[in-house]
Symmetry: D2
Subunit: 411 residues, 4 copies
């Protein structure tokens, strides 16, 4: 398990300069088919429909998370000295493999298929996959150790925190990477300084008080990215339409009218798909499926697939009064559309996406103050406190075909 590669392998990366790999087992995992498949899954679901350069994949993000984990265990004193080499490699593997179970346009797809990427991540680690075999060859217990870090259940809580705490490698990589790929500056913060000011006390990741401004910056970056990128209404339109198409496919299944898109069947039928079926359904397959479904005899399937393929997306209107939704439904029907498939609502609770919540032990940020006391960050930073106390508001949008005018829809 601790065997080194002949020389350090490096891969050029715009976020980290280089990704450095020096353990053979990590290199083998990168070359495994399940990991290579991540090249065919966008990092940001439908966001490339809004930000045309957001074509980056879960493959590069996974490498980035690994690289931050590697730097943490090699550069942060409390980790460098207190973790043994076996633990270090295990947590690097967890960083690398934490997203291995994702499906196409992930969150949207999960909604309709009932398939959760966490479940598949675990299955790929523990069932008979190429990744599983690589891990087992090193140590029979390794798949379980890696899976338990990813599910935040490893007995050494530090390992869990490194991958998915509040100042974790996952979030730090994706904020920087998504900002770079979209070309926005919202996600930028000072990774170097955060890494330099991280400390460990009592198996807890802390940040030195002198690093608190970088952490504020990072929390604001998260806030901005949520509203500007992750919850962008046009990306939500694409993802919502995908849900609509699947609803229709499920209503029809099994039927000859959708026979040309067998790649979707495992997710339409009863029961959970196998990891082999999961492997097969990547975004290449999904897009090819949409193209095939354009030849369906079912007019609705045909039309929704075409819209997804050619980016003929639904428009939306903000709804303050929930009563109005029924009126809109009637107007859409009046315009000649089946409102079961040609209309959907999306409600976003701001609170859920506030960058910080007090009292969530797992996800709080702890500060090592100059007086050597440890305090939760809102007790030290008025500005984080202010942000954390923002009262959530609820925004609802109704989506409908763009060829209907807003006047018709609301009228």
């Amino acid at each position: 398990m601790l065997r080194k590669t002949d020389e350090v392998k490096v891969m050029r990366d715009p976020i980290h300069g280089y990704i450095h790999v020096e353990y053979q087992i990590l290199w083998d995992c990168i070359n495994a088919r399940e990991f290579q498949r991540l090249r065919r899954i966008h990092q940001l679901g439908g966001d490339f429909q809004v930000y045309h350069t957001a074509e980056h994949t879960r493959f590069s993000h996974s490498l980035g998370v690994y690289e931050i984990v590697r730097r943490m265990v090699e550069e942060v004193d409390g980790l460098k000295n207190d973790l043994n080499e076996h633990e270090k490699v295990t947590v690097m593997l967890a960083g690398l493999l934490h997203d291995i179970g994702h499906g196409p346009f992930s969150h949207a797809f999960e909604a309709i298929s009932g398939f959760s990427h966490e479940v598949y991540t675990k299955r790929i680690l523990l069932e008979d996959s190429e990744i599983h075999r690589i891990l087992c060859r090193a140590d029979e217990q390794l798949p379980y150790a890696v899976a338990s870090i990813i599910s935040y259940e490893h007995p050494n809580e530090l390992l869990n925190q490194i991958v998915s705490g509040q100042l974790d490698a996952d979030r730090m990589d994706y904020l920087l990477r998504d900002a770079y790929a979209t070309g926005t500056s919202y996600g930028e913060f000072d990774l170097e300084r955060i890494l330099r000011t991280i400390r460990i006390r009592d198996h807890q990741i802390l940040v030195k008080e002198s690093g608190i401004h970088s952490v504020q910056d990072y929390l604001m970056a998260r806030y901005h990215m949520y509203w500007q990128v992750y919850l962008h209404p046009v990306a939500r339109s694409f993802e919502g339409m995908l849900v609509q198409l699947f609803k229709r496919l499920r209503d029809l299944y099994p039927s000859d009218t959708i026979a040309m898109a067998p790649m979707f069947f495992p997710f339409l039928k009863e029961g959970e798909a196998s990891i082999e079926e999961h492997f097969a359904l990547d975004e290449a397959a999904a897009f090819y499926g949409f193209a095939q479904l354009m030849h369906s005899e079912d007019r609705l399937v045909c039309d929704l697939a075409r819209r997804l393929l050619n980016r003929d997306l639904f428009e939306y209107v903000n709804i303050e009064d929930p009563q109005k939704i029924q009126q809109i439904r009637e107007n859409i029907e009046k315009a000649g559309y089946d409102s079961r498939y040609y209309m959907f609502t999306d409600t976003v609770k701001q609170k859920a996406f506030s960058p910080y919540t007090i009292g969530d032990k797992k996800h709080n940020i702890w500060v090592l103050c100059e007086d050597r006391q440890i305090r939760e960050i809102t007790q030290v930073s008025d500005i984080v406190k202010a942000i954390a106390e923002v009262k959530g508001k609820v925004q609802t949008k109704v989506y409908y075909p763009a060829e209907i005018t807003q006047a018709e829809v609301c009228g």
Copy 2:
């Protein structure tokens, strides 16, 4: 044709800040299915196999070329004042649509299919496509005008030069974009300064002498990008293996053993594929096809497809003595591989990729000197002259399955 959009449409772009669109016809072309299809074609063919972040597509590049053309016709004096609005829109359309005919992993694919992207670009413009209909609605002659700029045959030679001269919008966008996406600094140069020092005399794009250093920088950027990115041997391996798979498919066609990958048939059969068939074959289809071919009964198809999908690429060895190639072929056969498909050579003539060639009128760079004379750049810049005179050397590489050792192959 000259109708404006309600307000200027903007799209965030990491290279240009924003892409600005203010003519309805350009906006309509962007939303056309053939243009949206470019989202499913990588800009850099197999390079994403080397630079894992090089996932950017011909869609974003095409927008970038359009944006540079727009800036040129709006900011460079000789263009701003001398071109009329009709010409400006036409050349912006040519910039936007110049790559519309590309297929998957383009250059490699062209090699085996005999399908040239230039031919398909022209056919999409002139046959019954959505793009064609949008252009015709504005002006029956417009498809021909746009096509003639793209093929460097428009009677107003300035328009041709803007899109594909030496200091053209195409190259300037792709160097910057490819550098950004790969995370290398090689492709960077000072676009702002080049745009500021461009002048027009006698229907020729010139650069002021004071801008010559930016042009040197740009030529060096081209040189570096060729060797570091465009000709990277690992990308060539991927592309060469694609050629090998197609060779095998063609040898078998028609055959039940490849029935599961019908998306490739139009390019295997005799005769040119239709633009509808061309539309259908994007990289999503190609990757789905590889996945299907892994179930072929033909052992070779099955194996080559698997290697492409899972990135199990061929290794290579540099060959100085061409006599050795026959020896290698024998060794590969001895190792149990069919050398018709499991070996290929790649010869790169450096000269062809030198950044600059003297005496190629179309592609020379002209300098407006401080004494008001116009001179070809090598007469003004010793360093460009030196670079242009570099004698080309020829490099040959032989590729073979990575599981054979180099000793076995050469031994």
Copy 3:
């Protein structure tokens, strides 16, 4: 006044790419001696003692403010169309010249000399300076018009807002420039997007609701820069020590012991210095003065000057209990130092540096909402509201010579 230069003059600038000048009067002002003097005044007072690359000057900042004003009046619709050319040039001049009255290490110097940079800015514009003569040559009223914009008293309130409102050219340039020069990422925000979303209604600068995230980012940038850069305790140490030296000089003046530093006399004597004396006292003169004062026979002057020149700065301790200050004073005396000069306190009220205050009409940010209503930003953005409502806390630091230990000082 509206005469153009022969061709647009450009100056390379890392923040804006280029500074573009096309009016002769602006070019003449840039070349005037009072403007060139700004090259000898640091933009960030004592901050170069903390951030060793923060050597940038008020000269480059002033050019940057001018450039943003220029872009605003040429690119923002409500300004481009509603201001006449005379107003545009006037406000560009105000942007360029708004800092012309600054002295060395400005805020610190003002504290001791009683000399306010606003007063000198006005005097330089209205008295017999080179700048004054350039403006008068164009229009006798011009100096007054420029001065009234800078003092926020021009009858066309829009002009005042452009230079020093809340979304003003001054702040936008210095945040970006100071971030670049210090090498921090705190001051970064999306200037392009803010410029694109600015609107004008009823002589008020507004920002479109869709631009609100960029404004949040900009307010956070201000917040971070205050705490990380502008109020950095080491910069405050340098500036405070400067005040101490001046206190001593004033106590001695006139005296042979300080005869070697005549450049400081105009600011020690009774009455306001002339603009000629103000011109003469730049940071080169100040540093030369410190070097000369190292030869003073007054031991205190000699020592304080040496510390400033060679960066032998005072240390500090945070004081929560104001009672302790008297104790510290005694300890410093006990250690053999004259506490009138070798100790000072610095109290920073966070509130004063919060990025935003509600109800300050001049300095509020107004949002043009999607429903066409205009609202103060805290009514639209929960996060800005949260930040604006942060209750200020007061931090006091006591500074003392670094060679005394903290134990001795507090003990």
Copy 4:
């Protein structure tokens, strides 16, 4: 000498992220008065008159050189393992202190004063300076060891190469830093990749063949920076005028007419100035001196000093025919100027500034080829060979007061 600081000291730096200091002796040298003085010496002489943001100093450059040396000895295998700790600290000191002897606007100043910065660097190290005392406290031989590395005479040649070979810390820092400060992209290259591909064989720094493209990029960066920044004719005008003022001062010395500028006397009188006099003459003193000389009774001194202070620089004309110079001299006299002081020529031999010269053993770049052979870079890289063989041309410029028209001067 090997004592560590309590914790690693870090300083934010835009080029390197942070400067890291962990030896007390290095920290002490940074805080020494001679090192702090470098804050008052521009890195780029008169270039801030062209690039208004090029205000960076030899202080930040010296820290940057130190940081690259530190990384080299800690990250490059052949250095990390083969140098002992004493050698490492010594070469870090040499990197830090290599520019300690510079005077104001250095190269220009040297020209007239006959004072060479190398000589003063050595004197400061070996005579009784604060730096000297710090070094001696650690080891009596240390000043000599440091000085010998700086003068490329240390018996361990590797140490010399690290500081001033061809791929040396000095050049690598200044190219990146000057590019950042001027806002040009010319000086950029891939420092990370160069550091990663450096190897050591037989006490020689080599670069691996796979790093050759980064080296080409770096050589081109040097070429561009010379022509765009270091030899910029406007910077040369400022520096040339400085020489003219000194010529006049020397012709007058000693004289009451220049009594107000005693800081220049040590460099006007016979014999070499002391290191104390050298310490006193920084750029603050020089600018204060110019301001004082504006009150000289000598009309020429007064005028030249004013021009330097207020940036009223000389214009220039390119001269191809050296015969013309005499004609110009006559024209300048005819216009009423004393041509001894109001005219100067500047001849730049391109060859001297070509980025690379073959056959200069000390300054050649050696490549460790894939076949394990070591070759001089021009034998491996056609493009470097081409550049190295560029035949030098000679450019002469004549400078004269800008108020004379070019027609008058040449006419």
